[in-house]
């Protein structure tokens, strides 16, 4: 009995010590809702120094949480019980969040630094007049290749992916919209097409592409390319930037037919508790100095005109990551499709995957 008592006592002791420790750590971080701005962002998508700088400049405490897909983030917001102030979703998801009534209108007068944002990236189809969102980063979908094996001419068009010498070589990003988009672009249609006939055409075109595809994956692409286990991949410019900076033989190319143009924008959630803090954060991130620092850290393309000038020519002259106006004109932003249409895309994508 004595042993049992000692055992029980020590366990209760450990629990109390642990609990005390947790409370101490949390107290040290000094969290009070009055003073906290809660940011909900993609993993590793901000320079941590900027968060510290923001805290120091404004006196707000930042609570930072991360998500790994737009859909996971949507579920979290929809479920309620959360009070994120600033969230950073992608374009089509902003449209969906807006339609679900999960966002607050943004008062642009509260964000004076919005004047630095390139007007090209304002007032876009998914959020007209920027009633709900402010651009954070943008990018494209393109092709990464290794110059030991291929030249730029081999991959400068989506059509070239169908060439027989790519047999069983291409790493494809795992996304219904992305893959179907390639098929639709091949036939000269919009990547937001709702025409069943066009989709069917794209599907048949893509069937012929399947023998060339080595694998349909998402996060693994990066390592495969860097370690040169694969030489060509279709992926997003953000991911591509990471690869290019880690292996100098890799290059990112935008196919000449045009491609998907994506945006990650800052929004204020419906359940935000600290509206002033949210405005302060968005304004802070739009400050050219900070936007430039963030772009240098993340490597994605910044929509901030003034920050772009601060970045210097070596970065912004790279047409793969800062394409010319003419190239940008050919690109399209994903629009949110209704559930039925989305199902159609997914079904075709699944069928392609099964025939792979």
């Amino acid at each position: 009995m004595k042993r049992l008592k000692v055992f029980l006592g020590s366990i209760i002791g450990i629990i109390i010590i642990l609990n005390f420790g947790i409370i101490q750590i949390q107290k040290k971080q000094n969290k009070t809702t009055q003073n906290t701005v809660t940011i909900y962002n993609w993993g590793d998508y901000i320079d941590p120094d900027l968060v510290k700088k923001f805290e120091k400049e404004t006196g707000y405490q930042v609570e930072y949480e991360t998500f790994d897909s737009n859909e996971a983030m949507y579920t979290k917001l929809k479920q309620g019980g959360t009070h994120y102030d600033v969230v950073i979703p992608s374009d089509y998801m902003i449209q969906k969040l807006k339609e679900s009534g999960l966002l607050q209108k943004i008062d642009l007068t509260q964000i004076p630094n919005v004047k630095y944002i390139d007007s090209r990236f304002m007032n876009l189809s998914f959020d007209e007049h920027n009633q709900y969102s402010i651009p954070y980063f943008w990018g494209t979908l393109g092709i990464v290749y290794n110059d030991k094996q291929y030249t730029k001419n081999d991959v400068d068009s989506w059509k070239k992916l169908w060439e027989p010498w790519f047999k069983d070589k291409i790493m494809m990003i795992d996304g219904a919209r992305e893959l179907m988009g390639i098929g639709l672009t091949y036939n000269g249609n919009s990547i937001n097409s709702k025409d069943p006939h066009q989709l069917q055409q794209a599907y048949h075109q893509l069937l012929k592409l399947m023998p060339n595809i080595k694998a349909i994956v998402s996060d693994e692409i990066k390592n495969y390319l860097i370690t040169e286990e694969a030489q060509i991949a279709v992926t997003y410019s953000g991911e591509a930037h990471d690869m290019v900076s880690q292996n100098k033989h890799l290059h990112y190319v935008l196919p000449k037919e045009g491609t998907n143009l994506w945006f990650d924008n800052m929004v204020i959630s419906k359940n935000a508790q600290n509206i002033n803090g949210a405005y302060a954060f968005i304004n802070f991130m739009c400050e050219p100095q900070n936007a430039a620092q963030n772009a240098r850290y993340i490597g994605y393309s910044t929509p901030n005109q003034a920050a772009k000038q601060l970045l210097g020519k070596t970065i912004t002259n790279n047409q793969a990551f800062y394409p010319s106006e003419a190239q940008l004109d050919k690109m399209e932003v994903y629009q949110n499709l209704d559930a039925k249409m989305l199902q159609k895309y997914n079904d075709l994508f699944l069928e392609l995957k099964m025939k792979h």
Partner: protein, 269 residues
């Protein structure tokens, strides 16, 4: 005969290498200077310092352990009650039925338990708005799935206790609570401690159930590692795994000393 003994030895050595190699590999790279597991470029404690500066990770680590200690404690207490109830149920068929129900929970996959808890908690959440996914829901479900294992570990020991001992205690004038604290509990102590540690490890390494019922900023280690691994595992995770492994080692050694504290003397006699 000698050859056979050698073969057994080789077999055992091979087996343990096979079991420990992946962990050893992981620990080895925890001390890597570079950021990936591709090549070992040099020895450094970099990832450990990184880990200790990551307060979020430390809070999660402490939360995970506190949860495991607490869930195992409550599960052991409840399970102990369950054992008594099953043992002293009068009719054999009822006893069998109860035990079978207990075993079904042991066998059913975590995913099913997790999703059923999620449904339960969300339904309850519509009636009691206070109940939101987070620490308490995770604690409740961990207690729930640990109870069957506690029952299963203590029951055989209780069945070993001759009923005549209890009767003798009563005959000598012991009150029911005295029988409990002076006869039954001391007899069960080793199995209670074993059951506690079993429940503890169950809770510590559970992923599936926790994944379903967690929320509101509360995460445990396994869920956090999972969501980090999607972006490519950072060696910080290796460093953390190393520490947890060492802790587990200490725990096993500690368990050995606790459970053998008094016994060796007796056994030698």
């Amino acid at each position: 005969m000698k050859l056979k003994a050698h073969l057994v030895q080789i077999y055992l050595i091979g087996l343990f290498i096979f079991l420990y190699l992946p962990i050893g590999y992981l620990i080895y790279y925890a001390f890597n200077q570079a950021d990936t597991m591709n090549r070992f470029t040099g020895f450094s404690f970099r990832h450990f310092t990184e880990l200790f500066n990551d307060t979020r990770m430390l809070v999660i680590l402490m939360n995970t352990f506190m949860l495991a200690f607490l869930a195992a404690l409550i599960a052991t207490i409840i399970g102990l009650g369950g054992v008594m109830a099953i043992r002293y149920t009068k009719r054999k068929i009822h006893r069998k039925a109860l035990l079978t129900l207990n075993n079904i929970l042991m066998v059913s996959p975590d995913v099913i338990i997790g999703s059923s808890f999620l449904i339960l908690f969300t339904v309850l959440g519509t009636y009691f708005s206070k109940l939101q996914l987070g620490f308490w829901t995770v604690l409740l479900s961990h207690i729930a799935f640990s109870i069957p294992i506690v029952v299963l570990m203590i029951l055989p020991k209780l069945q070993e206790l001759p009923i005549s001992m209890i009767q003798a205690a009563y005959d000598l004038g012991a009150a029911p609570h005295q029988v409990m604290t002076k006869v039954i509990l001391p007899f069960l102590t080793p199995s209670i401690i074993a059951a506690y540690f079993m429940a503890f490890t169950y809770s510590l390494d559970d992923f599936a159930v926790t994944f379903f019922v967690t929320g509101g900023g509360f995460t445990t280690l396994s869920v956090e590692i999972y969501s980090r691994a999607r972006q490519g595992i950072s060696l910080e995770i290796n460093a953390l795994s190393t520490l947890v492994f060492i802790f587990a080692l200490l725990l096993v050694v500690g368990y050995y000393f606790i459970s053998h504290q008094n016994q060796p003397v007796k056994e030698k006699e």
